[in-house]
Amino acid sequence: MAKEKTRIEEFNRSMYDIQDPDQSSYKVDSGLTPEVIREISKQKQEPKWMLEARLNALETYHRLPMPTWGPSLHELNMEQIVMYVKPKKTGQASWRDLPEDIVNTFDRLGIPEAEKTALGGVGAQYDSEIVYHSIKDELQMRGVIYTDMDQALKDHEEIVKEHFMKLVPVTDHKFAALHGAVWSGGSFVYVPPGIEVDIPLQSYFRLNAPGAGQFEHTLIVVGKGASLHFIEGCSAPKYNVVNLHAGCVELFVEEEASLRYSTVENWSKNMMNLNTKRAQVKKNGKIDWVSGTFGSHITMLYPSSYLIGEGAQSKYMGVSFAGEGQELDSGTKVVHAASNTSSTIESRSISKDGGAAIYRSSVVVVPGAENCRSTATCESLMLDESSRSDTLPVMDIRNSSANVGHEAKIGKVSEQAIYYLMTRGLSEEKAKEMIVRGFVEPISKELPLEYAVEMNNLISLELEGSIG
């Protein structure tokens, strides 16, 4: 009798796929022209330098080629993407002041509830603008700033100008240039030196309009000796047209500071997710990336750490789940640009039903960076023969005192492991469930609690057959 494969159910997207009627107050014309850029800047009443930066970025965008590696982006037609969709109301400090459909959307996503019980502040973006922002009084009194980027550009212009697109210059790649031209929304966080923010701040990005792009910019500065946990969530309903997400995250971790940046990405399967995230870490600073990638049609996402101060550390933990119609190309980059820096990378991926999970990374140790350490572990689980899993790491080491190691595995669940657990009294079904949950556990335990619960719900096993 042919063996049946153990099924991993498709993620339950019903909550995310509810579409609100398109009641935006303003939309630019689709396409990418200087007129579109000027109109976006005018809507936001920006300083002149920001408009000039946008136009420069647009020029760079048109000059740079498309990537010659990675997933094919042939379905992306920039002339059909609407770059800016303004919701009816923006920048509110109370959920009551927002339109009902927007409130209902975020309610379904659990954001207001989480705000009450577990968060120090919330930013909620709907299409191209932040619609709601809050921060607990006690954090504000300690000097923590958590606001939307438009407000930050008005209230803290010098800090924004000093840091904006300095870690991710517009020349970095074509979609960084696109972001520089059409960015809108996003969050600004400043944590003063010595302040420990012991409850997380969260921003949630919801893209509702069909055929639109979301280009939020997140800028975080964690002062000397300070600490912060920032959570980012995102989703969109599914349409038959392509949506584009080309956001940008720039994180500045000062000396002795620490920042944990957790993301759960659950875009719909018509979404092209071409996000850029980068952290700069100074002396004895620390960055933790926790990344769950479950949605989108195509993802190209590589949170990067530049360790520029002695003793700086980076930790990356990523889990991805590629199902039907998905190509998730994700990973990380680390540059050891100072002595005694260290990095760890841990990645898990599952691919099924024709999905493709690609792990792509680079670890570079520059000349002069003494005694650097880096270890990377990457494991892939393939659940059927129609899927794909590729591991593409690169290590470029230019200092003889570095100690760098990498290991990766691919395969199916061991039948021996199942047998062993059954000898300990578990049923076959429970044994399989335990093994698959255990496979992702090192990463899923790092996710914020409510997302970890969803992660476990992701894995529901039919109780027949064998894995692999």
Partner: protein
């Protein structure tokens, strides 16, 4: 004349890493005739006299065209079941000021049931030395071949591409030593087309001065229950620059296959540069694949321990390098050749006080 963008990686990655392919860093000298010595063929080896058809590589068109247009030596060999593994065929090529260039194309067909050893040795002393090779090996059902390639040119350019097609239950073992040349670009790609085939690679290298070494090794599994096993080990001094691309590729049909790949590098200079690209590609679920890579300096605790046993620091370092190379050298099935390799390694290490 030059060759650009050759030795390409199977799946491209970020351009700024400059590992997707490589190019020659110096021009190719004019190719002049090369006179080979008469062959001394052991039992089971036969030269085929039919007209030689140029080898075409689908993914390295420019290189195969270059070889076809500039070839000054061809060889077509057949190995039959009469061959004895204890009696290897040894092909020795020597470049010098009077014969500085060798561009060769060879085809070796190993017949069903044959089990043979082939050793190809390339040396060179002189100026403007240039070697380019394209070797195609066809292993029929149940055929076994151990191919040992030794390169120790004093200077010049060495290009060496090997492609292998394997039928069911065939076994290909490849041992490669790269101990010379200013620039080496080498490739070995085995396609295990049918079930139960085995491909095993062992490679060692030493990079010194401003040497550039560029490797591209790939085991492509298409038949079920295939086995791939890649082990590479190297030492880098001075301003040597090495790029190693090692690919395990589980293609459609490779159910039940297993493969592993491992590279360890001793980086002994702050001006040397080590780039490692271990790829693991998979479109089948019922497989087991693993790769590992490590880069570092000598293990200080191991050095200390050996010194407590009476060795000097230099002796201890030499012992550790030999230990790293041992799993590779011991795969050479010919005692005299193993000795030759150890002598070449010792010669390269001497000037570094190791």
């Amino acid at each position: 004349m030059s060759l650009q963008n050759i030795n390409a990686i199977p799946v491209r990655t970020w351009r700024w890493l400059r590992v997707n392919d490589t190019s020659l860093s110096s021009p190719i000298p004019a190719i002049v005739p090369y006179q080979t010595a008469p062959l001394n063929l052991p039992t089971g080896f036969r030269v085929l006299e039919e007209k030689f058809s140029p080898i075409t590589l689908e993914k390295e068109v420019e290189y195969s065209q270059f070889i076809a247009q500039n070839c000054n030596h061809t060889l077509s060999l057949e190995i039959t079941p009469q061959a004895q593994p204890e009696q290897p065929l040894v092909l020795e090529y020597e470049l010098s000021d009077t014969q500085p260039t060798l561009v060769e194309q060879s085809v070796i067909t190993v017949r069903s049931g044959a089990d043979a050893n082939l050793i190809i040795s390339l040396r060179g002393t002189g100026n403007n030395l240039f070697h380019a090779a394209l070797l195609k090996i066809v292993l029929e059902k149940d055929a076994r071949l151990t191919l040992t390639k030794l390169q120790s040119m004093d200077s010049g350019i060495n290009l060496d591409f090997t492609v292998v097609e394997q039928d069911s239950s065939s076994r290909f073992e490849f041992v490669q030593t790269e101990l010379g040349a200013n620039q080496t670009i080498t490739s070995c790609v085995s396609t295990l087309k049918q079930p139960d085939a085995v491909a095993k690679y062992r490679t060692l290298y030493i990079g010194t001065q401003e040497q550039k070494l560029d490797f591209n090794q790939s085991v492509q599994m298409q038949g079920k229950n295939s086995v791939g096993d890649i082990l590479t080990s190297g030492v880098l001094f001075d301003k040597a620059h090495k790029v190693y691309r090692g690919t395990i590729d589980f293609q459609k049909g490779s159910h039940g296959s297993k493969a592993s790949e491992s590279e360890s590098v001793l980086l002994l200079s702050n001006q040397a540069r080590n780039v490692t690209v271990p790829l693991l590609l998979c479109v089948e679920d019922d497989v087991e694949g693993a790769h590992a890579g490590s880069t570092g300096n000598f293990d200080e605790s191991a050095i200390f321990y050996l010194m407590t046993r009476g060795l000097s620091k230099e002796q201890a370092q030499k012992m550790l390098i030999q230990a790293q190379f041992l799993p590779i050298v011991e795969e050479i099935p010919h005692q005299a050749t193993r000795q030759q390799v150890w002598e070449q390694v010792e010669g390269r290490l001497q000037s570094y006080g190791v």
